[in-house]
Subunit: 200 residues, 2 copies
């Protein structure tokens, strides 16, 4: 299997986290993500959005969208529950991640720590990203205040998905001290056997 | 079952479209969505983001995020395929919808046709929304040029999800004439038995 990867992307990190825990072997192809004008022709036939992560399965079929890839490899393992309501709750958090969390926290992190743009070129966007990110973190804090994991009694791909950019939120200027339940959950997740860091 | 609903929201329309086709009975509770400062206290215990759609199942358990609700009701019916690769492709399009399509096309539609704001208050945001929306529509056009439905040989919840805001894109100022495969797919979808319009 081939993973079209970026070593700095949290979306790619999600996939690497799950595959490491499942012991799935794969090759990586590094894709340039900082220069947004790069054509990415190698992805044109594989993914309508030309984004990473994109995987090419052993039979040559492509699959894109980080959370869809998590579901594909996680379903049938303990990382996706069997119960239909819990499965839908996992999806609820995966869609929350892509709609409420990533567009604020990952985008702020990219602009501040990776874009190589002068701050005045994106400064105007930060207040909205900070407000949206704080809202997403507050929703996680309320939920995790009474739970160890986002869904059910054990970690799922919902935890993997939200761990990826939450644990790197400081690179986007977010201070997690006001979110003690989130901090405890991050520590719990990183202590699981087989954990791999973002920059491995 | 209760559906916390907005009659103008495409995200809610997705749920109504599937439930109509499945013949599932439900009550609706209309939630104010134009005034974004409304507290929405009725949703506080049901959905961390306080958004519609949110459903409360017959046993009292809540579920949120339109595409997670589609999966919950669709899985086990012809609207979600059995094959694991096709299931992941359905999810790929659902995540595409929430990350690439809805934040451009639904937001432009809301601002232009429903927000009741004077145009000068949101005009500055339109060029970016138009460019992002055109990119999403072009990705759909390329994919649908050689296919009747987004995944496999019959309609799935991916078609339901992307139909909702695509068919109303004109309300956001999008002209669909440059996307003939998308227009043909919209017509094919609306001709399916049991179709219900957005404003029923």
């Amino acid at each position: 299997m081939i993973l079209y990867n970026s070593s700095i992307s949290g979306n790619c990190y999600k996939v690497r986290l799950l595959l490491a825990r499942l012991g799935v072997d794969y090759e990586t192809r590094e894709v340039e993500v900082v220069d947004r004008t790069a054509p990415r022709d190698e992805l044109a036939e594989l993914n309508p959005t030309r984004r990473v992560p994109t995987v090419v399965l052993d039979d040559g079929r492509p699959l894109a969208e980080s959370n869809a890839i998590l579901w594909y490899f996680g379903d049938g393992t303990p990382w996706v529950p069997d119960d239909s309501y819990e499965r839908a709750q996992v999806l609820q958090w995966l869609f929350f991640e892509q709609y409420e969390h990533e567009p604020a926290i990952a985008v702020a992190r990219f602009l501040v720590s990776y874009s190589q743009l002068p701050r005045e070129q994106y400064e105007r966007r930060l207040p909205r990203l900070e407000a949206d990110g704080a809202k997403a973190l507050a929703a996680m804090e309320r939920h995790l205040a009474t739970r160890e994991w986002l869904v059910g009694e054990s970690p799922t791909i919902a935890d993997i998905s939200l761990y990826a950019y939450t644990h790197a939120a400081d690179e986007g200027g977010f201070d997690l001290q006001p979110y003690p339940a989130v901090l405890a959950w991050l520590a719990r997740f990183a202590a699981l056997p087989g954990h791999v860091p973002l920059a491995a």
